[in-house]
Amino acid sequence: MMRRLLLAFALLLMTAPAFAVNPDEVLADPALEARARALSAELRCMVCQNQSIDDSNADLAKDLRLLVRERITDGDSDEAVLNYIVSRYGEFVLLKPRFSVKTALLWGAPALLVLTGGLSLLLFARKRAGKPTGSKLTADEQARLSELLKK
């Protein structure tokens, strides 16, 4: 249940949109168009600063959008379209980098961090068990405390 919930949440967040598609580019088939949009959001506009081709007004972005649509209407699968674009423009074009040796640390970061955090928590709790807690008083405070206690 929990895992499904997480997945659902991730899926929800994956579709944050913002667009620069022009009416003349839109495909007639809404299902194909939806696929094109989803793919566009994962491709970087190479001449812009951190924009996907879906968001960008640049000419290069438009060319790429048209290319994506062309491949999709030719019957390519999503994977094939991405492969084709990567073969022409390199990995840099993907906003969601593929899992590989180079990106293992990137994708593994959350899990690694959770593990490290969890383990250090456990270790600290073990080390700490049975030891006295609280801060020690300074000599000054100790004197004041005993004075107060005498009263």
């Binding site: 991730a10 961090l113 801060s135």
Partner: protein
């Protein structure tokens, strides 16, 4: 002449900062009160000098003194007056001045209101603030001097970047810097505690109001920035995972963790070492943000001020402060006495999970932001890490956090009753789910999975209400007793509830917009009509217009509901004449919490124009939730136990059944 005096005041501020950096520290070691007193007077003097210097720069901008290079580069005589003021920090040099102004302001506030801080702690804290001030004053004087003159003076300025000519610029950077720089106080407290080798619950109590204040401002600053980007950039997005957004978001995440761990430390004397480390890390992330924005190492839409030589200077500041503080931490932390122990199922336990998740989320955002840079440096391979990566990883991490948030306040300190909390939240979760289903039914059209997201948001909101409900004992005791209990709750309890509910509202907004938003990209000719979100928009036609420093083509739209005209809006494409830079001014219409967003594209050959229309249901919840979070921060801050200068609790007749509050 006045310009040179301003410049000189800044040099004097540097001298003051240098004295402030050394004398009080020595005083604290020798227990010499006179030397320690230098901290107070020095901080106030430094602030006055920087404020004067800043005032001079503002004056130069307001009177459009183009003999000053900074004014010439970033202003124009025709810029409206408000943008002449806000334009002071709409450029690299000026924004560094604002940074320094706020830094010294915080020092002065600690100096003036920190009367009941232990003498040595106060001296050390202010001295550490002095070190930071030295670094940044030097940075401004050596690499980013805003007082440079031009001879001969040009007759006209080069104009403020049109994107920055907006009220957003007047509000967003000051709020953001109040947040960023506010964490410097926590950093200084942490370093001072390490210098003294002593740390206790009282320390946490002094640090918490500062954390809370900085966090509140940062929340407002980020929300404001997001809304600004939303209406200004003209493509309807409100968060882009841009490196600079990440740079402000990471301190927010770490700061949120700090806020919660300081709570544990104050109440239970636990997590001490962790809290100190977190205080150091939070400000380090703020510093790193400053570096990332200004060095140009990362490409970003904010790159208004990138220059590699400055980057190296800031990198040095970064290394010295972060490296220095972390080394000090490594040396001294083992000597700090260990904190208390606690059961895993307790409020402390919940807060530890909160800290774990927030820190991991922060680390993930950090990894994603820096990874392309590191990989390219090490192997030469270029990759991109963009929104799809962040949405996925960050979303996965946040989901469990959202589920546990309502549990935290319901669990008692020391040993909590999970079963009890579960029983109480059972109803809340059920209600949230039913409400989400109803919401989904009314909005219809989105993916079914959105119900879970909506339920998560509602769970947070209702959970916050339930917390207050159970504390007051509504339904268990008579109405008047419950009312007395409710009003007797400490303000921080309301602050917590508001902040958690605000988070829920933001989640609701995010889920609603991402799943129920509709979009139309069409070519329109005058007289044509489009339906969006239950409204119909009629395009009435284009019209040229002009403002003080721009010309525009604007389109008029009339919005009808069931045939009756309910609103109208202009959407424009502007050209700022001085820089020949085009911008889009979206037409935005608000209906309740939802908005219609109309943006113009290119004109077509046959006399039409491309129009993009979005129906953004409940989008205002995103920022409204953030405002509520910040309001919660202010409410908490007004709790007298936290009020700066009143750390001791006044002996007050105990309110019946008052639970320990956060």
């Amino acid at each position: 002449m006045i310009i040179e005096i301003g410049h000189y005041a800044l040099v004097l501020a540097l001298a003051t900062a240098l004295i402030l950096s050394i004398v009080p520290v020595l005083g604290a070691r020798r227990h010499d009160s006179a030397m320690m007193d230098v901290a107070t007077i020095g901080s106030v003097t430094m602030f006055s000098l920087v404020a004067f210097s800043f005032g001079v720069l503002t004056y130069a901008h307001v009177v459009s003194d183009f003999s000053v290079q900074n004014v010439w580069e970033n202003s124009h005589s025709l810029v409206p007056l408000i943008y002449k003021y806000s334009g002071v920090w709409g450029n690299h040099e000026g924004s560094m001045m604002l940074w320094l102004l706020i830094l010294t302001l915080f020092s002065a506030v600690v100096a003036v209101f920190g009367r009941n801080l232990p003498e040595t702690l106060k001296a050390n804290v202010l001295a550490v603030q002095g070190w930071i001030s030295v670094a940044f004053t030097l940075f401004i004087l050596l690499t980013s001097n805003p007082f440079l003159r031009l001879d001969p003076a040009p007759a006209e300025g080069r104009d403020l970047n049109p994107v920055l000519q907006d009220v957003g610029l007047a509000i967003h950077p000051p709020l953001l810097y109040l947040g960023y720089v506010g964490f410097s106080v926590c950093f200084s407290f942490a370093v001072a505690a390490l210098l003294e080798g002593r740390i206790d619950a009282a320390w946490a109590r002094w640090v918490r109001p500062w954390t809370l204040a900085a966090w509140t401002f940062l929340t407002l600053g980020i929300a404001m920035g997001s809304y600004w980007a939303y209406y200004e950039l003209g493509w309807g997005g409100w968060w882009f995972w841009d490196p600079v957004e990440n740079a402000s978001f990471m301190p927010w995440l770490a700061g949120t963790a700090l806020l919660h761990s300081a709570l544990v430390m104050e109440k239970r004397e636990a997590l001490k070492i962790w809290t100190v480390l977190l205080a150091i890390l939070t400000f380090s992330l703020s510093l790193m943000g400053t570096f990332l924005v200004r060095s140009g190492v990362l490409t970003s839409v904010h790159a208004f001020a990138s220059d590699p030589s400055r980057g190296i200077f800031i990198l040095c500041i970064l290394l010295i402060f972060i490296g220095g503080a972390l080394s000090l931490f490594a040396f001294r932390a083992p000597r700090l006495s260990a904190g208390g122990l606690f059961a895993p199922i307790s409020r402390e336990g919940a807060l530890v999970v909160n800290n774990l998740i927030l820190t991991v989320a922060c680390g993930t955002v950090l990894t994603g932001t820096l990874y392309p840079l590191l990989l390219e440096t090490l192997t030469g391979d270029k990759i991109s890490v963009g929104p799809p990566f962040f949405n996925m990883t960050f979303g996965l991490l946040m989901a469990p956090l959202i589920v546990i948030v309502p549990f935290g306040p319901l669990l008692a300190w020391k040993r909590g009753d999970l079963l009890g909390a579960l029983q109480r939240l059972y109803v809340v979760a059920g209600l949230a789910f039913v409400a989400a289903l109803i919401f989904f039914y009314i909005e219809h059209g989105g993916p079914v999975l959105s119900v879970l997201g909506l339920a998560a948001g509602l769970f947070l909101v209702l959970g916050a209400v339930a917390d207050l409900w159970y504390r007051a004992g509504i339904g268990k005791v008579s109405g008047s007793v419950a009312w007395r209990r409710l009003t007797g709750l400490p303000r921080s309890a309301f602050g917590t509830a508001l902040a958690h509910a605000g988070l829920g509202i933001t989640v609701l907004g995010i889920v609603a917009v991402t799943t129920f938003q509709t979009e139309h990209v069409i070519e329109m000719k005058p007289g044509q009509t489009v339906d969006a979100g239950g409204y119909s928009l009629n395009f009435d036609g284009m019209q040229p217009g002009r403002g003080p420093n721009y010309t525009e083509d604007r389109g008029h739209f009339t919005v009808r509901r069931a045939g009756v005209a309910v609103a109208d809006t202009w959407s424009a494409k502007r050209l700022y004449t001085a820089r020949q830079m085009p911008t889009t001014e979206a037409g935005i219409l608000t209906f309740g919490l939802s908005q219609l967003y109309v943006s113009l594209g290119d004109a077509t050959k046959d006399g039409g124009i491309v129009v993009r229309i979005w129906w953004k249901p409940f989008i205002l919840c995103i920022w409204g939730g953030a405002l509520i979070m910040a309001f919660g921060g202010f409410v908490s801050l007004s709790d007298r136990r936290l009020r700066v200068g009143a750390p001791r609790r006044k002996a007050k007749p105990a309110t019946p059944a008052m639970e320990p509050a956060e």
